[in-house]
C-alpha cells in the first residue's frame, strides 16, 4: 500500500490580482520506505509540496491520503496529532530552540506529545548515542557546529519514530563534507525503513536518491527511478 497518495492537488496563492499556482494538478504516489529527491528551479513549488506533505499546509483542491487515511479533511488538532506521530521535519536552518540544550531540543516532540519524562530520558540518551552527540547533550545550539546542529535536528525529527521524514534543503547551510555526513545519516535512517523525501538544489545529492521528482511551475515534469542495483556511494 502506498504511504502517500496525492490526487489532483492544487495550491493557489493570491498575490494581489494574480493567482500563483504553486502546485498544479499533482498526482503522486510514494510507497513506504522510498527515498525520494524533489528537484527543480527556485519557485517551482518544492517547499510548497513538502509543506503539504507535512500537513503544514492544505491544498485548495485535491485529496491527500497518508497511510490510507484522507488527511485533507482533518481538523487542525487532528493534523497536529498526525505530525506528532507520523512525520518528522528537517529544515535548512535547523530551527533549534536557542535556549534549550541539545538534549532538550531532541526531547521537545516527546514533551509536546505528553510522553512521560522517564521514557523521554531513555529515548534521548539513545538518540544522543546513535547520532554521536553523547558529549554535547547539555550544549545549547550556539555552542554546536552546523553539522552537530543538524544532527540534533535529525535526532529530534526521528525521536517519535515517524513513518515519513521530510527534509527541505537539509545541507543548504552546511559545507560539503558536513553535508555529506548529514545526507549519509538520513540515508541510514531510510535504510532502516523511514520514508525519506529530500528537497535539494544539489544534483549530486539528488542523484543519490532512488527516485527523482522534478518540478517546474508547480507541475511534476519528471518522475524517474534509478535501477535498484545502483550503488549508493556514487
Amino acid at each position: 500500500m502506498a504511504l502517500i497518495e496525492l490526487a489532483g492537488i492544487e495550491r493557489v496563492f493570491r498575490l494581489g490580482d494574480a493567482d500563483v499556482h504553486a502546485l498544479a494538478g499533482i498526482d503522486l504516489s510514494i510507497d513506504s520506505g522510498e527515498y525520494v529527491a524533489i528537484m527543480g528551479q527556485s519557485g517551482s513549488g518544492k517547499s510548497t509540496m513538502l509543506n503539504l506533505l507535512g500537513l503544514l499546509d492544505r491544498p485548495n483542491t485535491g485529496t491527500y491520503h497518508l497511510e490510507g487515511r484522507d488527511v485533507t479533511t482533518l481538523s487542525p488538532d487532528e493534523q497536529a496529532a498526525v505530525r506528532s506521530r507520523r512525520i518528522g521535519f528537517v529544515f535548512q536552518s535547523f530551527h533549534l530552540v536557542p535556549r534549550l540544550t541539545a538534549a532538550e531540543n531532541i526531547a521537545l516532540p516527546m514533551s509536546l506529545a505528553g510522553i512521560p519524562p522517564a521514557e523521554r530520558d531513555r529515548r534521548v540518551a539513545k538518540a544522543l548515542k546513535d547520532f554521536g552527540l553523547d558529549n554535547r547533550a547539555d550544549h545549547r545550539p550556539d555552542e554546536l557546529s552546523g553539522g552537530q546542529r543538524q544532527r540534533v535536528a535529525i535526532a529530534r525529527a526521528t525521536i517519535m519514530h515517524p513513518a515519513l521524514l521530510l527534509a527541505d534543503e537539509p545541507t543548504g547551510n552546511l559545507d560539503r563534507a558536513t553535508g555529506e555526513e548529514v545526507i549519509h545519516l538520513l540515508e541510514t535512517l531510510n535504510q532502516s525503513g523511514v520514508t525519506l523525501i529530500i528537497v535539494t538544489h544539489d544534483h549530486n545529492l539528488g542523484a543519490r536518491a532512488a527516485r527523482h521528482l522534478v518540478m517546474e511551475d508547480g507541475r511534476l515534469t519528471s518522475d524517474s527511478r534509478r535501477p535498484a542495483s545502483a550503488d549508493f556511494s556514487s
Binding site: 505530525r83 534549550l100 521537545l108
Partner: protein, 402 residues
Amino acid sequence: MRTRDVLRFARDAGAGYPLRTSLSILAMAIGVAAVVVLTALGDGARRYVVAQFTSLGTNLVIVIPGRTATGGFNPANTITRTPRDLTVEDAAAVLRLPGVQRASPLAAGNSEISVGGRLREVLAIGVAQPYVEIRNFQLQQGTFIPDMDWSRTLPVAVIGAKLREELFPGQAAVGQFMRVGDRRVRIIGVLKPSGQGLGMNTDELVFLPVALAQALFDSNTLFRILVEARSRNHIEGVKQEVATLLKARHGGEEDVTVITQDAMLATFDKLLRALTAAVAGIAAISLAVAGILVMNVMLVAVTQRTGEIGLLKALGAEARTIRHAFLAEAGMLSLFGAIAGYLLGQLATFALRQAYPAYPAYAPDWAVAAALVTALTTGLLFGIMPAQRAARMDPVQALMKH
C-alpha cells in the same frame, strides 16, 4: 503536553529574555507594593485614630457645651463656643444618674507655671477624682486629686511625666511646690508617661481640682463632662438620660451635645476605611498598567518567537498547547511580580513601622489579597490576546520567520 512540561517550557522561555522578563516583573511588583504600602498607610491612620480614641477610656459618653443640628459627631463641635455654661453642678447631677458609673467635670485653659524661677506655659486641666479611673491613668509617683467635694479649691496638682522631667530634673517632684497662675500648689502625683489622647499630650499637662482650675481661669463653665457608662449596653441609655437631664437643668433648652465614644469611633472608622479603599483603588490602577505591560511584553515575545511557534506546530503541538505555554508565561510574570511586590510592600511597611513606631502601618489582609488576585488576573487576562495570536499562527508563515 503535560502541565509540568508546559510550566517548565514557559519558565525557560521567560528566563531566555532576562531583561524583558525582569522589567515586567518589576512593573507588576511595583503595582502590588503600591497597594500594600498605600493601604497600610490608610489603615494605619485608622488604627492610630481608633487607638487614640480607645485610650480616652471605655464606655465613654462626652458632654460638650453647644448644640449641633444633627446631634451627630462633627469635629467642628469641639471648638464651638458655649451658649450656656456647662457647670460643675451639671456634672454632679449627671453622676447621680442610674446608668452612670463615673463622671468627671473637665475645665481647661492655658496657664503659666513656675518652679524655682523657671517659667513655662502649660495646658491646665481641672478635673475631679473619677477622671483618673475614667481615663485609666497610671501614676508614677504619689496620688491623684483626692475624692472630695468638687467645689473645694484644694491647692494641689498632678503633673505629666514629661513636665516632671523638665521642671524637676533628677529629683522627686511629689511634695514640691510650684506656682500655677497666681496660686501656689503642692504637687501630689506624677502620671506615668502615655503620650496618648487626641492632640493633647497628657505628659505635658497639669491636673488641678476642678474648682481650683475654674478659679484660676475665672470662669464657671466646663470644657467637657466625661461620663463612663456602667457597661457597653448602658451607653445609649446614658446618652439619652444625660441629654434629658441637662435639657431640664438648662430650662428646657437643648444647648449641649452628648456624643458617645462609639459614635465618634464609628465615624472616623468609616471615614478612614473609605480613604483606605480609595487609595487601594488608585494603587490598583498601577496594577492595570502593569497588566498592559505584561500584554505588551507577551506580544513582543510572540513576534520574536514566531519561528519557534512554527516549529512547535511542525513538531505536532496543538493550538491549545501553544496557547497554554504563552498564558503560563504571562501568568508567571504576574505571579513572580505579585510575590516580589508583596515582599517589597511588607519590607516597606516594616521600615515604616520601624521609623514611626506609634503608627501601625499594617496592610489590611483584604488589600493584600485583592492586590495579589488583581495582579494575577490582569496578567492572565492581558496574556490571553497574545496567546491566542500565537496559537492561531499559520505554521508555514511562522516557520519562514527565523
